[in-house]
Symmetry: C2
Subunit: 379 residues, 2 copies
């Protein structure tokens, strides 16, 4: 069986690695032959994720199409579905994952806990923008969060505005090029991510929730076990499963949640494996990549068992000198090290590293020592 | 012409005083013959504001019925209206002023800026209460404000709850005896009151907005001129007029507003003269009491001119010793002193005092010196 993957980044890379263990072939549609997934895919197809003819060719070569990222053209994907191509996750999920305004509206209709929000249409007139933003500020106070409905990731395209005038100005600029979501800024106790694998017939397997420590909007470290109360974690898992069911997702759905006074509130969703779940490769009996593939391939999901008392995943981010972490590995066994083979640039995610063990402090120390070495710090 | 006033408190007292200047007779329906208004009304009718037969007798003796307070039975008032009695303000206004849940719903439908809110019905089941409160907390964060829809005044019956559990518990207790309003707690720059006099044909006269300095939920001091920007004050006045028009109010409508980042957000309304407007007796060419009477009597409203550069009104509140301020007047001329003739009790509003002049610091000093004297402090 052959899995087509749209996009060739590190998620596609790790999907391809997991596919090998499952005896699945992979065809990756990516733009460059040195993209992370290109070196491990069974076959590489060069082209843009939004190139209709490339998508058509990919579809002909595979049994099912899935995704490394959400930067796709939904009309093109709809055409594939109409032509009988198996696409997982499907359109309902992709629509919510690619457009935050659609997502919020779907979730509001489902009665899910959400920050109060308003959607400003692309090209909306100044008077309506002013009215709608002021109405929201009147209703929930300041600051307001302003986001383009599409295209942001890792905290890019999230603007915190402390005055209505600033929020209105930001919306005016952003709405010139697309829909804009404006929402209440909640006082958070934590941000949590819950991964739900859902198969073609609706069975779900939920991974343990993790707190996502954000630095400049990018996930920096994931620590298991999660320090929050069991009640909160259980509620978060139940909500994430409800979300997966409403979206009829297939594969991994990553549900990002705000925790407000022990209550889980939906932030957003991603319809693919997620940075917050990289620890599942070494840390569980069945990684998020394995279960994503199982789901989209129509296989039974694997039950998930956590394999250690303490697990720490740290992202390896390009340092200011532009050093390549690969230059600092120096033949040492750094455990669960995953370098994505991307050109080193400051601030770019170049890899991650997972350490498992019995004692959290020891594990965490080992993880950060290894990261320091990879940045040339302990060489 | 004879004006019937339901309730005999200090507002009725000052309405009766203003009526004398307009050559209007007054009949006050009050519970005790020593209520503040009883000593100046043309005629006193003893009875409860919710006694249908007393209301019927009052109606027969007067040309129009108006109100000192909102603690009335709307069904009884509706019966009067059906029977052809002129009642001003009318039912639409009274409904909004007596029930905060109705008020919020009417204003939300009109598109006015409001704190985000939810209404819990009387006797609602625990599951719905929990769901609705958690939904609001998810949407707007904490703390939440919980208020019974009816009956509160001067900050009584306003609960600030910092956890969802506390908010849910509070709602459960309060909803056993009536509808409950739960709303977002906004970070306020100021609280403002705007008085709008509206006549029978819809003409409006707006008083200058004033910041209401609240101590324990009770208005303590009003200072003119207001320190806020002219733009904010103008917006507040326009909004207050819009509110008066939506409610088709007749007489004084006091619109209490929150100022959030220079934006006016409706807090609540009172359909009668208001503590925040007592300064208009000495401070303007036509007091709120005069214009209330003019409106309900079908007379033309008087234009309002502010008569001084600096005006300070201070409430005289019963001290902990239970002293009667009247005992400390000692024959001195304390300017705009109004003692309501109420029995002195700690924390009770016993009167107010307005000082006008050219220099704000001087005026304010004089006002507070006088209040200190009335509390026995400078005797």
């Amino acid at each position: 069986m052959t899995i087509g993957i749209v996009g060739g980044g590190q998620l596609a890379l790790m999907l391809c690695e997991a596919a090998q263990d499952l005896n699945l072939d992979t065809v990756v549609l990516c733009e460059h032959d040195d993209d992370p997934a290109a070196r491990v895919a069974t076959k590489v197809l060069l082209g843009a994720a939004t190139d209709a003819s490339a998508l058509a060719i990919l579809s002909q070569q595979v049994d099912v199409v899935t995704f490394d990222h959400e930067q796709v053209d939904l009309d093109q994907i709809a055409s594939l579905v109409d032509a009988g191509v198996a696409v997982h996750p499907g359109l309902l999920t992709l629509e919510a994952a690619t457009d935050k305004a659609t997502m919020r509206t779907v979730f509001a209709n489902a009665g899910f806990p959400l920050p109060a929000f308003t959607v400003i249409e692309a090209g909306e007139d100044d008077r309506t923008i002013t009215h709608d933003v002021m109405q929201l500020a009147a209703s929930v106070g300041l600051p307001l969060i302003v986001k383009p409905a599409r295209g942001g990731y890792d905290g890019r395209g999230v603007f915190v505005e402390t005055t209505t005038a600033d929020a209105i100005e930001r919306v005016k600029v952003l709405s010139a090029s697309g829909r804009v979501l404006v929402e209440a800024a909640l006082a958070l106790d934590a941000e949590l991510a819950v991964l739900v694998a859902r198969d073609l017939v609706g069975n779900c397997v939920v991974y343990p929730p993790v707190v996502t420590t954000q630095v400049n909007g990018m996930c920096r470290e994931v620590v298991i076990p999660c320090a929050l109360d069991d009640d909160v974690l259980e509620e978060a898992q139940l909500l994430a499963v409800d979300v997966a069911e409403v979206l009829e997702s297939v594969g991994i759905l990553a549900v990002e949640l705000f925790i407000v006074d022990d209550m889980a509130v939906i932030c957003e969703v991603a319809a693919r494996p997620h940075n917050s779940g990289h620890w599942t490769i070494e840390g569980t009996s069945a990684s998020q990549f394995e279960n994503h593939l199982r789901a989209v391939a129509g296989l039974a999901l694997a039950e998930v068992e956590v394999l250690a008392d303490a697990i720490v995943m740290v992202n390896i981010v390009g340092n200011d000198d532009g050093d390549d972490p690969a230059d600092f590995v120096q033949g040492q066994d750094l455990g669960g090290l995953h370098l994505y083979g991307k050109a080193a640039r400051p601030g770019r995610k170049l890899g991650h590293l997972t350490v498992v063990g019995n004692d959290l402090d020891t594990v965490r120390g080992a993880a950060w020592d290894a990261v320091a070495q990879l940045h040339g710090g302990l060489g």
